[in-house]
C-alpha cells in the first residue's frame, strides 16, 4: 500500500470527526429530546408507582422484560460476530468489526437498564451487588436474576475491553492528526502507543485472548437470560430448548441490527468505498443461516409442546397459534422467516437493499418473538380463573421508543468521536486490493505493514 492510499484512508475515515454538518446537530437534538422524554417517563413511573404501566396481575413482566431480552440479544451482534470472524481470520471482516463491537457495548448498556426500570423499587437495585454490609444482606445465588447480574456485568466489561483494545492504534493516529484539546484527549486515550513491534505483538496477543474469551461469555449471557424464564414452572417457559433458542435468536437479531447500522453509516458518512456490497452479501449469508436456525428452533419448540399435549402448555400454545396473540405470532414468522428467507437465499435479491429490508423486518420480528415469549405464558398460567390480557400503557411505549432513540444517539455520538471503521486494520488488510485475499496473504501483508518504520 502506498502513502497516497493511506492518506486517503485517513482523510476519508477522519472526515466525520473533523466536519460537523447542521444535520448532525439536528439529529442529536431530535434524538436527545426523545431520550429526555423517556427519562421523564421513567421518573413519572417511579413517582407514581408501576400503576401507570400496563403490567397487572398476573402479567407482572411485559414490555420492559421484552426490551431487556431484545437488547441483550442485539448485543450479540458485535462481540460474538467480530470475535468469530477474527478467530477464523475472515479477511473481509476488517471494515465491519468496529461497527459491530460498538453495537454490543451500547445495546448491553441499554438492555441492562431494563431490569432496573422494571423494578418495583429501583432505588434498591444495589441489593443485587454482593457487598458486605451490617444488615447481612446478600444476593441469593440460586436466583437466575442474580446470575443475570454477574453475567451481564462480565459481558459488558469484556465487550468494552474488546472494543477498546483495537481502538488504541487509531487513538494514536488521531493524536498525531488532530490539534488542540482533541490531541490531548486522544493522546490520553492512546495510552502511549508508539507502534513498536513489541506493542503490536502485545496488542495482537491481547486481542486473540479476548476474542477467544468473549465467545463463551456471550453464549452464557443469553443462556442465562433464557434461564430467567426456563427456571420457573410456567407453561411454555419451562423448556430445555430455551438456552440455544435464545442464543440463536440473539445472534440472528444482532446480525440484522449490524446490517441496518452499516447501511445507514455507509450512506450518512459516505463510506461506499469501504463497506462494499460483498460485506452485506457475506453478512446476508450469515443472516440466512441464522434465519433457518431460528425457524428450526421455533418449529422444534412448538412441535414438542404440541405432541406433549400438556393442558397448561396447550392453553398458551393455542393462544399464540390461533388465539389473541396469533396476529403477532404470524407477523413474527413472516418477519423472521417467510420474508427474509427468499430475499437472502436468492443471490440476485441479496443486494444491499435486499439485506437491509430483510434485516429491518428481522429486528421487528425478533422484538415480537421476545414479547411472545414473555407475555402469553404469564397471561395464561395454570389456573384459568386468573387468566388475563395485557395492553401497554403510554409510559412503557415512551420508554421503549426512547431506548431505540438512545441507541441511535449513542451510535451517532460515537461515530463523531472515533472512526467507525478501524483505520489500522484496513491498512493492515491492504485496503484497495482486489478482494478476496487468502488468509496467508493477509497475514503476510499485515506482518509487512507492521514492521515498517
Amino acid at each position: 500500500m502506498d502513502l497516497k492510499t493511506e492518506q486517503k484512508i485517513n482523510a476519508d475515515l477522519l472526515r466525520p470527526l473533523r466536519q460537523t454538518s447542521i444535520g448532525f446537530y439536528a439529529l442529536v437534538g431530535f434524538l436527545g429530546t426523545i431520550v429526555l422524554a423517556g427519562a421523564g417517563a421513567w421518573f413519572y413511573q417511579m413517582w407514581n408507582g408501576l400503576a401507570v404501566a400496563g403490567i397487572k396481575f398476573p402479567i407482572y413482566w411485559a414490555f420492559y422484560i421484552t426490551n431487556f431480552v431484545f437488547w441483550i440479544g442485539i448485543s450479540h451482534a458485535g462481540t460474538l460476530i467480530s470475535a468469530i470472524l477474527r478467530l477464523v481470520n475472515a479477511t473481509w471482516r476488517r471494515p465491519v468489526t468496529r461497527c459491530a463491537e460498538v453495537i454490543t457495548v451500547f445495546s448491553l448498556m441499554i438492555g441492562a437498564m431494563f431490569p432496573i426500570i422494571h423494578l418495583g423499587r429501583p432505588w434498591l437495585a444495589w441489593y443485587l451487588i454482593p457487598i458486605p454490609n451490617e444488615r447481612g444482606l446478600w444476593p441469593n445465588l440460586r436466583s437466575p436474576l442474580a446470575w443475570d447480574f454477574f453475567a451481564i456485568s462480565t459481558y459488558l466489561t469484556g465487550s468494552m475491553l474488546f472494543l477498546l483494545l483495537p481502538m488504541i492504534p487509531d487513538f494514536a493516529l488521531m493524536r498525531d492528526q488532530m490539534t488542540g484539546w482533541r490531541r490531548r484527549v486522544y493522546s490520553a486515550l492512546a495510552l502511549g502507543w508508539q507502534g513498536t513491534t513489541k506493542q503490536w505483538h502485545r496488542l495482537e496477543a491481547a486481542m486473540q485472548v479476548m476474542a477467544i474469551a468473549i465467545v463463551p461469555v456471550a453464549i452464557s449471557v443469553h443462556t442465562i437470560v433464557s434461564f430467567d424464564f426456563s427456571m420457573s414452572p410456567v407453561p411454555m417457559w419451562h423448556s430445555t430448548v430455551f438456552g440455544p433458542y435464545f442464543v440463536a435468536g440473539a445472534i440472528f437479531s444482532g446480525i440484522a441490527a449490524l446490517i441496518v447500522a452499516m447501511a445507514i453509516l455507509r450512506k450518512a458518512l459516505h463510506l461506499e468505498e469501504y463497506l462494499h456490497p460483498v460485506h452485506f452479501q457475506n453478512l446476508g449469508k450469515l443472516l440466512l443461516l441464522m434465519s433457518l436456525l431460528w425457524g428450526y428452533f421455533t418449529f422444534v419448540e412448538r412441535l414438542t409442546t404440541w405432541y406433549g399435549n400438556e393442558p397448561a402448555e396447550m392453553a398458551v400454545f393455542w393462544e399464540t397459534q390461533t388465539g389473541s396473540y396469533a396476529p403477532l405470532f404470524w407477523t413474527m414468522v413472516f418477519c423472521n422467516f417467510l420474508l427474509p428467507f427468499p430475499i437472502l437465499a436468492i443471490k440476485k435479491l441479496r443486494t444491499i437493499t435486499g439485506c437491509v429490508i430483510a434485516s429491518s423486518t428481522i429486528v421487528v420480528g425478533m422484538w415480537l418473538e421476545r414479547f411472545l415469549i414473555v407475555v402469553p405464558s404469564l397471561a395464561t398460567k395454570h389456573l384459568p380463573y386468573t387468566w388475563s390480557s395485557y395492553r401497554p400503557q403510554p409510559v412503557e411505549i415512551m420508554i421503549t421508543i426512547a431506548t431505540f432513540a438512545g441507541m441511535v444517539l449513542l451510535y451517532t455520538l460515537f461515530s463523531k468521536a472515533v472512526p467507525i471503521i478501524s483505520i489500522w486494520e484496513l491498512k493492515v488488510g491492504g485496503h484497495g486490493r482486489a478482494l478476496p485475499m487468502t488468509a496467508e496473504e493477509d497475514e503476510k501483508q499485515g506482518a509487512l505493514w507492521r514492521v515498517r518504520p
Binding site: Y127, M231, H382
Partner: protein, 228 residues
Amino acid sequence: MTHRWGMTVDLDRCTGCEACVTACKTENNIRIAGPEQAARGRSIAWIRVERYFEGEFPDVRVKFRPVMCQQCDAAPCEPVCPTYASHHTEEGLNAQVYNRCIGTRYCANACPYNVRFFNFGNPVWDRPLDLHINPDVSVREVGVVEKCTFCVQRINAGKELAKSEKRELRDGEIQPACVQSCPTSALVFGDLNDPESAVSRLSKSSRGTKLLEDLGTQPKVTYLQKQT
C-alpha cells in the same frame, strides 16, 4: 417439637360467600385499590374464591375453590428471588420480607397458583377505614410483593400466649382470619406435625387432593374434593 402449619379446604362445604376474603383483607391491612384500578388488575386478595362453571344452561354446576398461598414445601417462588425476600421459615411457611423485596416480581411469575401480589401504589385508606388498621401487621410500601402469611401474627401471638401460660398449644387455638370467619367451617387450620390435629386427620382423607399436585410443589393446603 416444631410446628408445620397446614390447612384443609372442604369444597363440599364452601358456599362461595367470600367471608374469608373480607376477613383477610381486614386482618392483614390489604391495600384498597379502588374500582378503577381493580378493573385494571391492581387489586390484592391473599385469598380469593375461584368460580368454575360446568355444563350448559340449564344444567349448570358451579364450583367454588378458595385459593390462598399453598405454603409449598418445594416453593417455586423461593429460589428465584435474588434478594432472599421470599424464603422458607423453620415452621414451613413461605415468608416474604418486605424490606428486602426490590420488586422484581419474579416470585409472582414463578408461582403457579398466582397468589403473590404486587403493590402498584402506596396504601391509603379513606376515613373511617384507616381506623381499622391492624397494628400487628406491617403496612406494605409501593413496589413490594406480598402474599398470604397464614396470619403469622396470630400464630406468633398464640405461641406467646401458650408459652406465658406454660402449656402446649391446643389444636384449633390458632385460627387465621379466613378460618375464623368461615361460616360453614370449610377451612380448617392446624399443625400437620401433630397427628391428632383436625387438619392432620382431614389431610389424610381419601377426598384430599393438592392443587396442581403434578408440578411437585408439595403444598401444605389440602383440598377435599366435592362428593356430590
